[in-house]
């Protein structure tokens, strides 16, 4: 007997007769855990959710929930018999019912496992949709429809909740507030959830684990911290777009050398023999600004991000290096100015490929 709450083993996810994501295996250990799936558009994230929900069939592998097989080559439990809720990215509210009726339909689902009953009114209030309860789906905005659909899925208190880009149409100003509340509700009710998103910050905040789907494969399935700081392949680095890869040569147990930046010290996450040529992952927070340093690089771009600036610096060999600077730093540097980098460069965990 498996000890995992949800287990996906060697599954090829298929949509419209085409293989979308191949040979996927991952599991959710505990009830109430949240997993976020990240990946570019069209890679098959939604197909994974649809298959888990029972809307698509599989030809290889198994999907088990609480040790019961939901899908396999020989078995397919129909969606209506799975007790899995899904909130779709597009408007999937029943057009001839009011928003209130739509939400309460979710609560009609038979669920013998409901120990702690959810109060639909609380969900409605949390998602700020009290004012639209009497309206019909065509009378509300896309963001409101998405929140209503989310409410319907939540009040169903399913054994597994699947959310497909649940907040993609929600205003940015309101998004963070909902993220906090949503996380709290899911935690309180112990609703095991898989969220598909393309927003890595949303995934890092909400997920206990993150899965990265790239090139038809699940490339990495790990804690958000590890996904960010210890990406396991170049594709993940490129997808997260939070750093660059620069050429370097391993010079010792704890050091390497780059032709433009000089010696870089730190702890390798993986052993490389001395003299190896590697690609070093350099993230914006790895370098520190120091006006007094003699290592000066040319500023080619400056992005203001509210709490910080990210400067893009050009090296002699035309590498473009990102550097994170707190926005309260005493002065700013303009494009074409020189920008000092603190030496010696020390990176806590050195990730190379």
């Amino acid at each position: 007997m498996s000890k995992n709450y949800l287990e996906i083993k060697n599954v090829n996810f298929i949509a419209g007769g085409n293989n979308k994501v191949k040979n996927v295996s991952f599991s959710i250990e505990k009830k109430g855990d949240i997993v976020c799936l990240l990946g570019p558009s069209g890679v098959g994230k939604t197909t994974i959710l649809r298959t888990i929900a029972g809307l698509e069939k599989i030809e290889t592998g198994t999907i088990k929930l609480k040790d019961n097989i939901l899908s396999s080559e020989k078995c397919h439990v129909e969606p209506e018999d799975r007790n899995i809720s899904m909130s779709f990215q597009e408007n999937s509210l029943f057009p001839h019912y009011t928003i209130e009726k739509n939400i309460y339909l979710g609560a009609e689902r038979k669920n013998l496992n409901k120990k702690k009953k959810i109060n639909p009114k609380k969900i409605i209030k949390l998602l700020n949709i009290e004012k639209i309860l009497d309206k019909f789906p065509h009378q509300i905005s896309a963001g409101e429809a998405q929140r209503a659909s989310l409410a319907r899925s939540l009040v169903a208190q399913p054994e597994l909740l699947l959310l497909d880009e649940p907040l993609s149409n929600v205003d940015q100003s309101f998004k963070e507030e909902i993220q906090v509340q949503l996380k709290q509700i899911l935690k309180d009710l112990k609703i095991t959830t898989i969220i598909v998103t393309h927003d890595s910050y949303e995934a890092f905040y909400l997920g206990n684990k993150c899965g990265l789907i790239l090139d038809q494969k699940l490339k990495q399935f790990d804690d958000p911290y590890n996904v960010y700081h210890f990406p396991n392949c170049i594709e993940v680095v490129n997808f997260l777009n939070r750093g660059i890869l620069i050429p370097a040569k391993v010079t010792g147990e704890n050091s390497l050398e780059n032709i433009d930046l000089g010696t870089i010290k730190g702890n390798f996450t993986k052993h490389y023999p001395k003299g190896s040529n590697v690609q070093l992952l350099l993230q914006p927070e790895d370098l520190e600004h120091d006006d007094k340093s003699n290592l000066k690089l040319e500023v080619v771009d400056r992005k203001f991000r509210g709490t910080n600036f990210i400067y893009t610096l050009k090296t002699r060999n035309e590498l473009y290096v990102p550097v994170f600077v707190h926005s309260h730093h005493v002065h700013q540097h303009e494009v074409d100015e020189k920008f000092g980098i603190k030496r010696p460069i020390y990176i806590d965990h050195i990730v190379c490929f």
């Binding site: 029972g54 969606p79 209506e80 408007n91 999937s92």
Partner: protein, 539 residues
């Protein structure tokens, strides 16, 4: 693909509808009597020539009236424009054969025109100076005025969606109104115009009532004659095959053009309500006159003629068993609507649930029944039942089923089912297209079964589509002539058959009363549906 109850339901419905079409196709290889040789040497060329002349004449006139009226009511403001917008579709209430009776009645020697001239100018020999609209010209006019509405409705919907930006761009480029019409407006409405004209072509080629009244020999009347006069069912089917190929080509063209028409749908950001141009003075009067003339000729004229005769020959009115005819018509209308809606739902939902490509192709094939003239369908149906009875039933030594299907309400409704299945199926389908698939999936995910989703989500949501389909089917059944004529039970008459029988006995005055009732009932149904037919998003 998911094989379940709904899949099989849909499969059976589509196969049933496809049977007459397949019968016509297979008959191509059967032996015929020597009637074919006689016909080939005598009338076949005439049949084809007449069919083509009729087709070209009707296409020209319907294009002129349909596009012209649609252009005027879509782009200009003039007195009565909002009235004309819907009143012009009333012409659908007058079937071509009733128009033909009116035309003849008005212009014949000592007809209504003669009476009017006599009452105004006194006695005189007016017959020579009154033009005669009979023969081919009469047939072209009758069919054109009766069905130009197809072109009008589709073109108008297309004009409605033409981007204001496109027209403003024309103005920017310094185009005159005429240049805008020929370079921008008409080309971008082309798919809709072609779609309308294809429907007109199909109806024209399948017309039986008007051409037989005027004694024009076309392929359709040829089929009827080869069956009735020469008792050669196989040859009737072979003639049908040729006509069917021709009609299927038009049908494919129409289908193709409809797909293209999607390019004209408004995008959320790109559509802007057009500002109509206010016409004043002579131009305004001319626009008003043009629309009035079309409305008068297509609807008011035949209605008045029938009303006039009903009033001056009250005996015909009193002799008519109105109650029986009405009950018969309503019986056929109700049964056909119920059967069509029920099976269209099964077929559409089966297609939706199973997502089978095969089923989709079969459904597309089976809806082509609408393109087959009623005469062909009726003949094909009799052929099939005869074959079924002689081979299958005979083999098992069961009791003959011919009487159950031929000359019975059941057989009649079955053939209506095939003929109007496309109308019902597409009506329900267009409703379904507005329901996103994720709606179904959401229902499954809150625990609804397929049946509960159908009953609790689809049926209530599609109630408007159901109503529209019911009314459109009713309208078609009321007007339908050849199928009813061939397959009706003994002594079972409708308004349409009664009018035809009187007219074929040269008793046009007597035909006026059932014709008048037919027009009035059909007008009532048109008025009920005008809201939907003219709905701005109806392209």
């Amino acid at each position: 693909m998911r094989v379940n109850f709904w899949y099989f339901g849909s499969l059976i419905v589509s196969l049933t509808v496809a049977i007459p079409i397949l019968t016509v196709f297979t008959s191509f290889f059967e032996n015929t009597t020597n009637y074919f040789e006689i016909l080939k040497n005598t009338f076949l060329a005439e049949y084809i020539f007449n069919s083509l002349v009729l087709l070209i004449g009707v296409l020209f006139l319907t294009f002129l009236m349909g596009v012209g009226c649609a252009y005027l009511v879509s782009f200009y403001n003039f007195p009565g424009v909002n009235f004309f917008k819907w009143a012009l579709i009333l012409s659908f209430a007058v079937p071509p054969y009733i128009y033909a009776y009116s035309l003849t009645a008005f212009f014949e020697n000592y007809g209504t025109a003669f009476s009017i001239l006599k009452s105004v100018f006194g006695d005189g020999d007016y017959n020579k100076s009154i033009p005669k609209f009979d023969g081919m010209l009469g047939a072209i006019l009758s069919v054109s005025f009766s069905i130009f509405g197809y072109v009008y409705i589709l073109t108008r919907a297309s004009f409605y969606y033409q981007s204001q930006n496109l027209i403003e761009l024309g103005k920017n480029l310094g185009f005159s109104k005429f240049k805008s019409l020929t370079s921008i407006i008409l080309p971008s409405a082309r798919p809709a115009i072609v779609a309308g004209l294809s429907l007109v072509a199909m109806e024209t080629l399948s017309d039986f009532g008007a051409v037989s009244f005027f004694g024009i020999n076309t392929l359709t009347t040829g089929i009827y004659n080869s069956w009735i006069a020469f008792d050669d069912l196989a040859f009737a089917n072979q003639l049908s095959f040729y006509l069917l190929i021709f009609i299927l080509a038009l049908f494919i063209l129409e289908n193709f053009s409809r797909k293209k028409a999607k390019y004209h749908s408004p995008t959320k950001g790109g559509f802007k309500q057009k500002e109509k141009i206010n016409l004043i003075g002579t131009k305004s009067f001319l626009a008003f006159l043009a629309c009035t003339l079309v409305l008068f000729l297509s609807f008011i004229f035949p209605l008045s003629q029938m009303l006039y005769w009903t009033i001056i020959f009250p005996k015909n009115f009193l002799d008519l068993n109105f109650q029986q005819l009405f009950m018969n018509t309503i019986l056929l209308v109700s049964l056909s609507s119920l059967v069509l809606i029920f099976f269209s739902f099964i077929s559409n939902y089966g297609n939706r649930v199973s997502r089978s490509k095969f089923l989709n192709i079969l459904t597309t094939f089976s809806v082509s029944g609408y393109a087959i003239p009623g005469v062909i369908l009726a003949v094909a149906f009799i052929t099939f039942i005869a074959w079924f009875d002689d081979t299958i039933i005979n083999f098992f030594e069961f009791k003959s089923v011919k009487k159950v299907f031929i000359g019975s309400i059941l057989g009649l409704v079955l053939v209506y089912f095939v003929r109007f299945y496309s109308l019902a199926c597409n009506g329900i389908k267009s409703g379904y297209e507005k329901i996103n698939r994720s709606i179904d999936e959401s229902a499954y995910l809150i625990g609804y079964s397929k049946f509960k989703t159908f009953l609790n989500i689809h049926v209530p949501y599609l109630r408007n589509s159901i109503l529209l389909v019911a009314i459109l089917v009713s309208l078609e059944v009321i007007r339908e002539l050849p199928i009813t004529l061939i397959l009706r039970p003994f002594n079972f008459e409708t308004f349409a058959t009664t009018a035809y029988i009187f007219a074929s006995q040269d008793l046009l005055e007597a035909a006026a009363v059932p014709s008048l009732f037919l027009i009035l009932i059909a007008s009532f149904f048109i008025l009920l549906t005008s809201k939907y037919i003219l709905r701005e998003d109806n392209e």
